[in-house]
């Protein structure tokens, strides 16, 4: 669960001003709270599990207008909204929801975009149940929060469907140049925020499509690429320049970019270093890191091989090691690529699983098997060096460890061997070391993460900021975006005053 964030005085004043507007008062009066509480939470329509687990089409279909208005009605429009305190990018949630209730969808889109340049993405991949929805006052009263995430998705889909993307007014150019390194969620957020303030922003991206983990990691069935593309196009319309296939640290160093006249930098290079368990057989053919497996399928479109040239092993018996969202994405991908058995192997119990509840539910519906309290010991190969089996060990839960979760301990003599022809290791990623290796002035923490001042996201180098998984290790898209938003504010201040 995410900590409740502190609401600044400025944000409080902004919320209050909106809350006190006449139309809001009228809307509140139009339906008593008692009536609002009678409206059930509107279900997200989904494609049938037996159909969707065979293709890469999106699973969630999105609310329609009537369902969205009903859902918006459930919100009490409280004087002290809990939801905003759970949002890392400080969206004025009550306002955008009440605008949906008022059926003023255009105004609702604008409201969200005041603080979030990528709502179609957040509406799909944010863990709202542990961010804004967990602190929703309706949840505190009834246990069932307003479906804030589904409404956010609804409103961004409406905007894209209309084809009339709203562009905010951009102030005259400040003449300052900003280099954003990495086009993932953190970098895209920084770029959008700083472009809106009149700075000239260039994003440098190592891969050939912008999006970072949103494009190489999160599968089409959860975040269609067309939606990501539309969000990136929006940034380009704001004046952001994209330099693809550009590896800062290799194609040019940060020092080189400084000489090219960039005034401030944001490093958002992500957790691009896959972790392995260091057990025997991990380098057999058919054993992948989740990063490689998902990159082949999502970025390189191996699911359309041989129309696309990049292949991927299509296992009949697939085991995915881990219990996070990346593991869920991998195992559901394996199922879609024809695995008869697609299983999660996780060393703790269901309760400790870090994946979002919705992802686990979707996986279960699609026929994914869950082998909990189980850990792999080694992989066994055939004479060609391909994985053909794995040896596992059963675990049981012992005392809580430093993370507060009960520590899994091996059950003696419980080893067993099972046949597998595809293994995906999804036990986490570490920060990508490339920037730190080629920029010695950057102070690096214990896990290879860049060290920052959490109040400003400033690194040890003046004018150089960082955020997202390069400082957090392996976190979420929305936390990366929250970092980006915080950093952008500080960078704007730095660019205007020349210091931080």
């Amino acid at each position: 669960m995410t900590e409740k964030l502190e609401i600044s005085a400025e944000l409080k004043a902004r919320l209050k001003a909106e809350y006190d507007k006449d139309w809001r008062k009228e809307l509140r009066k139009s339906l008593p709270v008692k009536e609002r509480m009678k409206v059930p939470r509107q279900k997200m329509p989904e494609r049938e599990p037996e159909k969707r687990n065979r293709d890469f089409g999106e699973v969630n279909k999105g609310l329609d207008l009537e369902a969205a208005v009903l859902e918006a009605r459930r919100c009490w429009d409280c004087a002290n909204p809990g939801c905003v305190s759970g949002c890392p990018v400080s969206i004025d949630i009550p306002s955008f929801i009440k605008l949906i209730e008022k059926r003023d969808l255009v105004a609702s889109v604008r409201k969200i975009k005041e603080t979030n340049s990528l709502p179609a993405i957040c509406g799909r991949v944010c863990p709202q149940e542990t961010q804004c929805e967990i602190v929703c006052n309706l949840r505190k009263a009834t246990g069932v929060p307003v479906a804030i995430g589904n409404l956010e998705r609804f409103i961004s889909d409406f905007e894209r469907g209309e084809g009339k993307v709203f562009l905010p007014e951009i102030p005259p150019s400040t003449g300052k140049k900003v280099a954003v390194i990495g086009a993932g969620p953190a970098g895209l957020t920084v770029a959008g925020e700083l472009a809106k303030k009149g700075h000239r922003v260039t994003i440098f991206e190592a891969l050939h499509i912008a999006g970072g983990v949103l494009v190489y990691g999160i599968p089409e069935f959860r975040l269609p690429k067309a939606i990501l593309k539309a969000e990136v196009n929006y940034l380009q319309k704001l004046g952001v320049e994209l330099r693809m296939s550009y590896v800062v640290g290799k194609t040019a160093t940060l020092e080189d970019l400084k000489k090219d006249g960039y005034d401030a930098f944001f490093i958002g290079t992500g957790a691009g270093l896959p972790n392995f368990m260091r057990i025997p057989g991990e380098n057999l053919v058919g054993v992948y890191s989740a990063n490689e497996y998902l990159t082949r399928v999502n970025l390189m479109r191996a699911y359309e091989f041989p129309v696309y040239d990049t292949p991927v092993v299509r296992g009949k018996r697939a085991a995915v090691i881990g219990g996070g969202n990346v593991a869920m994405d991998s195992v559901r991908t394996a199922k879609r690529l024809g695995a008869e058995l697609a299983a999660i192997i996780y060393r703790r119990s269901r309760q400790e699983m870090p994946a979002r509840e919705e992802e686990v539910k979707h996986a279960e519906e699609e026929g994914i098997e869950f082998h909990l309290l189980t850990t792999p010991l080694r992989y066994i190969g055939d004479e060609q060096g391909r994985v053909k089996a794995m040896e596992c060990l059963r675990m049981e839960l012992g005392e809580p460890d430093s993370s507060g979760r009960r520590k899994p301990v091996p059950v003696q003599g419980s080893e067993f061997i099972t046949e597998v022809d595809l293994v995906v290791v999804a036990i986490g990623q570490s920060p990508n070391p490339l920037m730190a290796q080629t920029t010695p002035e950057l102070r690096v923490g214990k896990w290879g993460n860049l060290e920052v001042d959490w109040k400003t996201m400033g690194t040890s180098m003046p004018g150089v900021f960082a955020g997202g998984d390069i400082v957090r290790g392996g976190a979420t898209v929305i936390l990366a975006m929250g970092d980006g938003r915080l950093a952008a504010g500080e960078m704007d201040r730095y660019l205007k005053c020349g210091q931080r």
Binding site: A206, L207, H208, Y216, M244, S245, Y246, V247, K250, T251, A252, G272, L273, P274, F276, R278, E282, N283, L284, V285, G286, Y288, S289, N291, E292, T295, R296, M300, R301, F305, P306, V307, Y308, D309, T310, P311, V313, Q384, G385, R386, N432, P433, L434
Partner: protein, 277 residues
């Protein structure tokens, strides 16, 4: 997008690709590579940088026709755009004055060894270069290599050449004939590099090889290129591509190189069907 300046066939199965990439050219060092994708549906493949010209802003690589990706590259014309051309990637080769260095290159490795031989020569080494091809009509760049080598030995597996000249055998005889060989650098197919490493193992002469596992992103993000060196897993794209050949788990590398053999055939068939319906 990067523009193709020149694509030409050097010998029947080996092509040269010169691309306008001024930023890559500015940073290129011997031993590094680029990743290229021939078209929007292509695969990202690594190619060693064989030469570069910072003034002209160009980077040159040599590739051998093997599968779909290299077929597609071989059809490029000057003026074509490449959707991906990224680099320079990997760590540069270790260039010092070691004394006497043997540079061994086979097939596409003949070009790949060239910038290393040149840099080693400039660093003051005595450079003995060995090149090998499958048949004598496949030689190229001998003149370029001659200029940067103290001696150049050539071998081919056809009747014009003595089989004793095959690089691993030649290495063996050089090790016996020369007073001292301080280092060997070998680039070519996995088999050739493996044989070179085995040839120098008894004498314990440090032998650097430039490994060529399958890669995807080339920046350490995916781990496709993992190799075992000294019992530890390394990523060839960021920890290499150069490794001490005596520390490599060669059987593992051979099997990982063949990961997609059947798919490669399938892909090539699909490509041919598309071109010649």
């Amino acid at each position: 997008m990067a523009k193709v300046l020149r694509r030409e066939r050097l010998v029947p199965n080996i092509h040269l690709l010169e691309v306008h990439a001024p930023e890559v050219a500015r940073k290129s060092r011997p031993g590094q590579f680029i990743i290229v994708m021939s078209d929007e549906r292509g695969e990202r493949i690594p190619l060693t940088i064989a030469d570069w010209d910072a003034k002209r802003g160009s980077v040159t690589s040599i590739f051998m026709l093997v599968g779909t990706s290299t077929q597609k590259l071989s059809l490029l014309q000057a003026g074509d755009d490449l959707p991906v051309y990224v680099g320079p990637l990997g760590r540069p080769s270790d260039i010092q004055n070691f004394g006497t260095v043997v540079c061994a290159g086979g097939c596409f490795g003949i070009a790949a060894i060239y910038p290393i031989a040149r840099a080693l020569k400039q660093a003051g080494n005595r450079v003995l270069t060995l090149i090998d091809v499958k048949a004598s009509y496949l030689f190229y760049w001998e003149d370029k290599l001659k200029k940067v080598s103290d001696r150049l030995f050539v071998s081919a597996r056809d009747s014009r050449y003595d089989s004793k000249e095959y690089i691993p055998y030649k290495l063996d005889s050089l090790l016996k004939a020369e007073k001292k060989i301080d280092r060997v650098v070998a680039i070519g197919c996995t088999y050739l590099m493996y044989r070179c490493a085995e040839a120098t193992r008894p004498a314990g002469v440090k032998t650097m090889v430039s490994l060529n596992p399958i890669m995807v992103d080339g920046t350490g993000m995916c781990g496709a290129c993992r190799v075992t060196a000294d019992g530890k897993t390394k990523f060839a794209c960021v920890d290499g591509p150069d490794f001490d050949g005596h520390t490599i788990d060669w059987p593992e590398l051979f099997s990982r190189r063949k990961s997609y053999f059947d798919d490669e055939v399938k892909s090539l068939c699909a490509f041919e069907r598309e071109r010649f319906p």
